[in-house]
């Protein structure tokens, strides 16, 4: 491993080594205090979290850093003093991470321009609505050449990574613990695919264990890497709202996807919108925020639809999901609805799931004025 200076490597090892101490000293207020601690220099940090054996910790971290530098691992590492360090992280000021340890294509991270990257975050416990929106947003942004940054967590994060991969685009996963293995473990398949075509990175040296404070710490990296941070679905007190706050502090734009006012899953995003976050309905809204209004490429449209097909699409846009509800809303017979749905599925307008329910994709009808997600 090379590409980082000795001090920065030592810093990464020190964070891994003292992860448990940091956890103890931040206590329950991990969100605020971790940031303050990480803004400290190595020595101050070590003294603050390990008052009795800080000297030993510094020495061990230094030794490990030298050992790691001598080994040729499978990952890469970069630091502010070396080449390739992403410029977006400068926005974090004193709490800027020192070393970045990663897997996958270092070139993606090295060349990362915040104006060409969007961070998508949201609840781990998301609903089908959030998962679909995150997937579609990421797919279209990636198709437009935007790098999708997220955190590999269950729910919205995974849907965003999946969406970007589905479009054959580029995605970066920022992990809390070491980047040498998937966290959460159930996302190991997704982790491997991101390693193969995108990049995974962490502030902590490989092998670092998981503590509460690493997630808010990771969130500040995600917030700084993307020019726009979109919160797709978040309840009140969700960790994604911390990411949104950090994005504002880093001078980034924050967008939020509205949800039903009756849904607890969307209470956090709806409040963000009330507090002045930008409204995000589709990828064009995000591209407008990122690149300026009107710069978004036109939405792709599919082949012509029949009158019945158009009525069925309108019913789907109106919220119908079962063939019965679609038939009733479209005023079309049941069999005719099924037939129309099968053709719309072939043309890419709709998608059926394992339980026989139907959802709309973002493909627009030709000549139509586009539609809201």
């Amino acid at each position: 491993m090379s590409g980082a200076c000795a001090e920065c490597l030592r810093r990464g090892q020190l964070l891994s080594l003292l992860a448990a101490n940091i956890d103890r000293s931040v206590g329950a207020r991990a969100g605020e205090r971790a940031r303050d601690l990480l803004a400290l220099g190595d020595r101050e940090l070590a003294v603050a979290v390990a008052p009795t054996d800080w000297k030993a910790a510094l020495a061990t971290a230094g030794a490990r850093a030298r050992q790691a530098a001598a080994e040729s691992g499978t990952g890469w590492v970069m630091c502010p003093h070396g080449p390739g360090y992403p410029t977006g992280l400068d926005a974090l000021g004193r709490s800027q991470p020192h070393a970045l340890f990663g897997r996958g294509d270092a070139g993606i991270v090295a060349g990362l321009d915040p104006d060409r990257a969007v961070t998508i975050v949201g609840s781990r416990r998301c609903g089908a609505y959030g998962r679909q929106v995150a997937h579609e947003l990421a797919r279209e942004l990636a198709a437009a050449g935007i790098v999708v940054v997220s955190g590999l967590a269950l729910g919205i994060d995974s849907a965003a990574h999946e969406g970007a991969l589905a479009a054959g685009g580029t995605t970066i996963a920022v992990l809390g613990p070491g980047a040498d293995r998937a966290y959460p473990r159930s996302a190991v398949g997704l982790y491997r695919r991101i390693c193969a075509s995108g990049a995974v990175l962490s502030e902590l040296a490989p092998g670092a264990a998981t503590f509460r404070w690493v997630f808010p710490a990771r969130n500040r990296l995600m917030a700084a890497l993307g020019g726009v941070t979109v919160v797709v679905e978040a309840a009140e007190r969700s960790g994604s709202l911390i990411t949104a706050e950090m994005a504002i502090e880093a001078g980034r734009t924050v967008g939020a996807v509205p949800g039903p006012v009756t849904s607890w899953r969307s209470s956090g995003t709806n409040r963000l919108l009330g507090d002045g976050a930008a409204l995000v309905r589709d990828a064009r809204d995000v591209l407008d925020l990122l690149l300026g209004p009107g710069s978004a490429p036109p939405q792709p449209s599919g082949p012509a639809t029949t009158a019945e097909g158009a009525a069925v699409l309108a019913a789907l846009d109106g919220g119908a999901a079962t063939a019965d509800a679609i038939a009733a809303a479209a005023g079309v017979g049941f069999s005719a609805t099924l037939i129309a749905l099968a053709r719309l599925e072939r043309d890419g307008y709709v998608r059926g799931d394992h339980g026989g329910r139907w959802t709309r994709t973002t493909l627009a009808e030709p000549g139509g004025a586009g539609r809201l997600i």
């Binding site: 079962t322 019965d324 599925e345 043309d347 394992h354």
Partner: protein, 493 residues
């Protein structure tokens, strides 16, 4: 004396032989008897004495042959008692030649009913027996089989009449009750999708899965599936009655059993579902033979249970192998499954859903993997609106059944008797599916877009064929294929 044992759902012949010779009074039964058979000694002794016969105070050995067949239950009492009476010259043997006997004795000489009388009568008929003497309560059921004379015995004393060459009168026959009316499809209000799904499933014999929240009418619809299936032929009805009788639900008045509807709970074991124990007893799928097996909460059934269903769904019968040999039981049933959209029941789209993403994902994976390649059509349903519930009743079962019958007739002409589209082989699909030019084009152009395997396509074609049969169309058109595509099973994800 000839008698019968029940093995699986069939009767097998057993010979009861008696040897009486001098010695200390003793009575032994050999030939792999279980406890109930060994206790037969006490019942036989008491019944003989209380019916005015003598119990010989000599050395009596009863042998039940074949000796390697395990004998269970009290049904051999009557044959053993009759053999003792003949061997001790209390009854004339000649008039009983060619008669088969089965029944459990009461201590006072009365004769108690036993399960499986219909299967036994069938066996007597096949063996060319002259007559079959059995408990009077079982006589109407055995009378469904033409051929052997049926002698209803009210008590052991009636053997005297039989030995005199006459058939005892037996008690007055029970007035036959009219079969209880099946629940009617008119009760299913609104829900055009559920009705269409039910009709396609019934017409083509397709296994179907309905996904929806509680209260969407899933089990209401399932219970009405038998009412739109074609009536059972006499041969089929005899099979169903025979199985019901063996399973302990004898036909008291000699009427044939209706088309079965079985709805086992999802906690059922694999053995309970497909049959098991030793000697093998019929499971739910055999009890559902020629009828409907309704699996509510498909996603909650154990993997082992669902795996065990795969072979019977393909073959229409189930083979249970045990150390003492294999038994094959009939299991030609129609599968109708239902499931909630997520573990809590409301569906992940609903704001009332309280499931975590991880649970929803695990549930979806289990549901989409359950019997993945055995279910032909999947349909999502919702709770009907209040307007639909208070509206007019829908079409009656009779109207739908008439269309189903027409579609079945078209399949019979094409595939042969008792065949349905769901059972088409790959060769039959290629030869006789009758895809028209448009449909072929739709299939070819759609192959990539729908992401289907060759086997997946064959399932789509089977359902499309049924849609065409319901339409009265000889050819399968593009619309039929499209409808089948919309109803096809999909992977989760």
């Amino acid at each position: 004396m000839r008698t019968l044992a029940i093995s699986g759902v069939e009767a097998v012949p057993v010979d009861a032989e008696i040897d009486i010779h001098r010695g200390l009074p003793a009575f032994t039964i050999v030939g792999l008897p279980d406890a109930a058979v060994r206790e037969s000694r006490e019942r036989v002794r008491a019944a003989l004495v209380n019916s005015g016969f003598d119990f010989p105070l000599q050395r009596i050995t009863a042998n039940l042959a074949p000796a390697d067949l395990r004998k269970a239950g009290p049904g051999y009492d009557l044959a053993i008692a009759a053999a003792i009476l003949v061997a001790s010259d209390q009854l004339a043997g000649a008039p009983l030649d060619g008669w088969w006997l089965a029944g459990e004795l009461a201590l006072d000489g009365g004769i108690r009913p036993l399960p499986g009388a219909l299967a036994m009568a069938e066996r007597v008929e096949r063996e060319g027996g002259r007559g079959f003497a059995l408990p009077a309560a079982n006589a109407p059921e055995a009378g469904l089989i033409e051929g052997p004379a049926i002698a209803p015995l009210g008590s052991l004393a009636d053997l005297r009449t039989l030995a005199a060459g006459e058939i005892p009168a037996g008690p007055a026959p029970i007035a036959s009750r009219s079969a209880p009316a099946l629940p009617d499809l008119a009760d299913l209000k609104g829900q055009p999708g559920l009705r269409r799904g039910l009709e396609i499933a019934a017409a083509g014999g397709h296994a179907a899965l309905v996904v929806g929240p509680p209260g969407a009418g899933k089990s209401l619809a399932a219970r009405r599936l038998p009412s739109i299936l074609p009536p059972l032929s006499r041969r089929e009805a005899i099979e169903v009655t025979r199985i019901a009788s063996v399973a302990g639900r004898p036909s008291a008045d000699g009427t044939l059993a209706p088309r079965p509807f079985r709805a086992p709970h999802h906690t059922i074991s694999a053995a309970g579902l497909v049959g098991g124990s030793s000697p093998p007893r019929p499971g739910e799928i055999t009890l559902a033979h020629r009828g409907v097996l309704f699996l509510d909460e498909l996603g909650e059934f154990s993997r082992a249970s669902l795996e065990a269903l795969r072979q019977p769904l393909e073959d229409g019968e189930v083979t249970i192998s045990r150390a003492r040999g294999a038994t094959t039981l009939p299991a030609d049933f129609q599968l109708f499954a239902a499931a909630n959209p997520c573990p809590c029941g409301y569906g992940a789209d609903s704001p009332r859903c309280s499931c975590t993403a991880e649970r929803v994902r695990a549930y979806a994976a289990r549901l989409s993997g359950a019997l993945a390649d055995r279910i032909d059509l999947v349909l999502a349903v919702e709770q009907p609106s209040a307007a639909a519930l208070s509206g007019d009743p829908g079409e009656t079962s009779a109207e739908v059944a008439a269309r189903v019958l027409d579609a079945r007739e078209a399949q019979r002409e094409r595939l042969g008797p008792d065949r349905v589209n769901a059972s088409m082989t790959d060769a039959e699909i290629a030869a006789s599916a009758g895809l028209d030019q448009d449909a072929r084009a739709a299939l070819v152009s759609g192959h990539d877009e729908y992401g289907l395997s060759g086997r997946g396509w064959n399932r789509v074609i089977k359902v499309a064929r049924t849609c065409a049969d319901l339409d009265g169309s000889r050819a399968v058109g593009a619309d039929h294929v499209a409808e089948a595509l919309a109803l096809r099973r999909r992977e989760a994800g």
